[in-house]
């Protein structure tokens, strides 16, 4: 591997040696400021890179002459692992793709598998999925906005963001039993129902969270330092963004109104009233504003969903897909057999292929699956929204200042887990 960060300089025996000769530095002291190119490694674990990514930056003065993103430090072989376990056993892996909005990955995967089977899940399960997804969308955007605020010099917004995140995590923990990687959905429905009194708690929590979001909004949106550093930096035109395959809030910041929840409503999104914010300039400031506004819209969706949610089952009543209830497993031979077959062989997904996408926090989360009719996926491809967004970073940052790299990297919200699978 060529070490491009080390400029090659051939040894010159006649030149003065600064370690031995007393006046060797004199020439350097008299000279003008250095004009040669400087190579800087940002990362793999830099505090401003969310995840592990190594940016090989070539600097000319303060401007970035060229940049190369090197990823893969977090690669765990998601596809290969999925191809060697049953469909249900893939679920914990999907959680770890985007670890700040685990439920969205989880439900996106389930949605694709259910499409492949041709399965309609109960209405109550669809509502629970909407609520879970939107909670985690707020969670994801809070992380992004809070970190952006902190890395541009505001520590208070970060503390508010973490506080709000903590409140959401508590509700998620009550719902699923885990704070971050929830593993909550099941093929055909949900793992368990909403706990007693959870809805009222969520509404109270949302009141507090929105208060904190307003606080962050007030601290950042008109802040002179924040605005100066984000406005008109990291600009990408709408054509370029489309060409690179951007989706989600980053694409909408360029003025393209594309949200899968509106265009192709899945679950019960067509019954919800919400707006899709659209920006104009495609710069860092717009991407930040998108996220603030989307949190407010998610808040609206959760409140409507909690009001509308009907009673009923949360998982399909089909023992070839969902585990039978425990009394049946212990009491009847049919229950034992279907439990055994589901655990040992997995759900028998009919042979075929499907591409399905949902709107995750960062954009279109696509799943392409091939089944050969057995209990294990033959192929699982995940189209992570962060991957194309990150691939455009060298394009948008070339020739700009090194300081612009930090806000750009913050607002595209790269998550190592999903980019590197």
């Amino acid at each position: 591997m060529a070490d491009t960060h080390k400029p090659a300089s051939p040894p010159n025996p006649t030149a003065p040696n600064p370690d031995i000769d007393a006046y060797a530095h004199e020439e350097e002291l008299e000279a003008h400021l250095q004009t040669k190119r400087m190579y800087i490694n940002m990362g793999p674990s830099h505090p401003a890179t969310h995840g592990t990514v190594r940016l090989k930056v070539e600097l000319e003065g303060e401007n970035i002459a060229s940049i190369d993103c090197e990823i893969g430090f977090l690669h765990r072989g998601f596809q290969k692992s999925c191809e060697n376990v049953t469909w249900t056993q893939c679920l914990p892996y999907t959680d770890r793709l985007n670890y700040v909005s685990a439920m969205m990955n989880n439900f996106g995967f389930l949605n694709a598998v259910e499409k492949l089977i041709g399965l309609e899940i109960p209405e109550r399960a669809q509502y629970i999925r909407v609520i879970g997804s939107e909670l985690h969308r707020i969670h994801d955007h809070l992380t992004c906005v809070a970190a952006t605020g902190m890395e541009l010099g505001g520590f208070a917004p970060f503390l508010y963001g973490v506080e709000a995140r903590e409140l959401i995590m508590d509700r998620v923990a009550e719902l699923t039993g885990a704070r971050l990687t929830t593993n909550f959905g099941r093929i055909g429905g949900m793992n368990r129902d909403l706990p007693e009194g959870w809805s009222e708690k969520v509404i109270k929590t949302l009141d507090k969270v929105m208060e904190l979001v307003d606080e962050m909004d007030g601290l950042l949106t008109r802040n002179r330092i924040f605005v100066d550093r984000t406005k008109e930096t990291g600009i990408i035109t709408a054509e370029d963004a489309i060409d690179y395959g951007w989706t989600g809030p980053c694409l909408r910041a360029c003025g393209i109104d594309y949200d899968i929840r509106k265009v192709k409503p899945y679950w019960v999104y067509d019954r919800m009233e919400f707006d899709v914010p659209v920006g104009q300039h495609g710069d860092n400031y717009d991407r930040y504003l998108m996220r603030i506004e989307e949190m407010r819209q998610s808040n609206r969706i959760i409140r409507q969903a909690l009001k509308q949610i009907p009673g009923g089952p949360i998982i399909v009543n089909d023992w070839r897909i969902a585990l039978p209830p425990k009394p049946e497993v212990y009491g009847t031979i049919e229950g034992v057999i279907s439990h055994f077959k589901l655990v040992m062989e997995g759900i028998q997904v009919p042979a075929g292929e499907v591409y399905d996408c949902t709107e995750a926090a960062n954009g279109e989360l696509g799943w392409y699956m091939v089944s050969d009719g057995s209990g294990r996926p033959y192929k699982v491809h995940v189209r992570a929204p962060g991957y194309p967004i990150l691939s455009a970073v060298p394009h948008i940052i070339k020739g700009k200042l090194l300081a612009d790299l930090i806000p750009t990297f913050d607002t595209i919200n790269m998550i190592g887990g999903e980019v590197e699978q």
Partner: protein, 170 residues
């Protein structure tokens, strides 16, 4: 898809709808850049979503071995279109579509990295997720699940559980 077939009758080898109503077309490799450019410029399929490959080694029909799948989306018509190109194991090479869609850059590197399918005309075909010294292409079905190539020797840890599955047999 009808218009693609009408425009390039010689390029389309197969067409079908999948169970969820998605339109697929199998394209001959040499016509791929032309079809991609037509889709982008004439039919307004501008948003490049992703590329992936399927190793069909264990499937019923496995000749040619690889199938590279392209996903393209139209923002004005809200439609997905998927193209498939079949590649043999002996000569895994495809024309690159980076001149048409810049977003294909990293995805083609991804397919090269994991399946070993070359893209002729790609500006910078390197591995993207794995390191340069890595031997082989791990998402091929004949690459065993437990094969390891640590760059730094792994420390011997007793009784460590090395992930799921048998040693690549399935």
């Amino acid at each position: 898809m009808d218009r693609v077939t009408a425009q390039f009758p010689e390029a389309v080898a197969e067409r079908y709808l999948d169970r969820t109503g998605g339109a697929w077309a199998v394209i001959h490799a040499e016509h791929l850049p032309k079809v991609a450019a037509f889709l982008k410029n004439e039919l307004d399929f501008k948003l490049f979503t992703s590329i992936d490959a399927v190793d069909r080694l264990h499937l019923a029909e496995n000749d040619p071995r690889f199938e590279v799948v392209y996903f393209i989306y139209s923002l004005s018509r809200h439609e997905h279109v998927r193209l498939k190109v079949r590649v043999s194991e002996a000569n895994p090479e495809l024309p690159s579509i980076v001149p048409v869609f810049r977003g294909a850059d990293w995805w083609e590197r991804f397919v090269w990295d994991f399946y070993g399918i070359r893209f002729a005309g790609h500006p910078d075909l390197r591995r993207v997720l794995l390191y340069e010294e890595f031997q082989g292409h791990p998402l091929r079905k004949d690459y065993a699940l437990r094969d390891r190539q640590p760059l730094i020797p792994e420390r011997p840890i007793k009784d460590i559980f090395r992930g799921p599955g048998t040693s690549g047999v399935s």
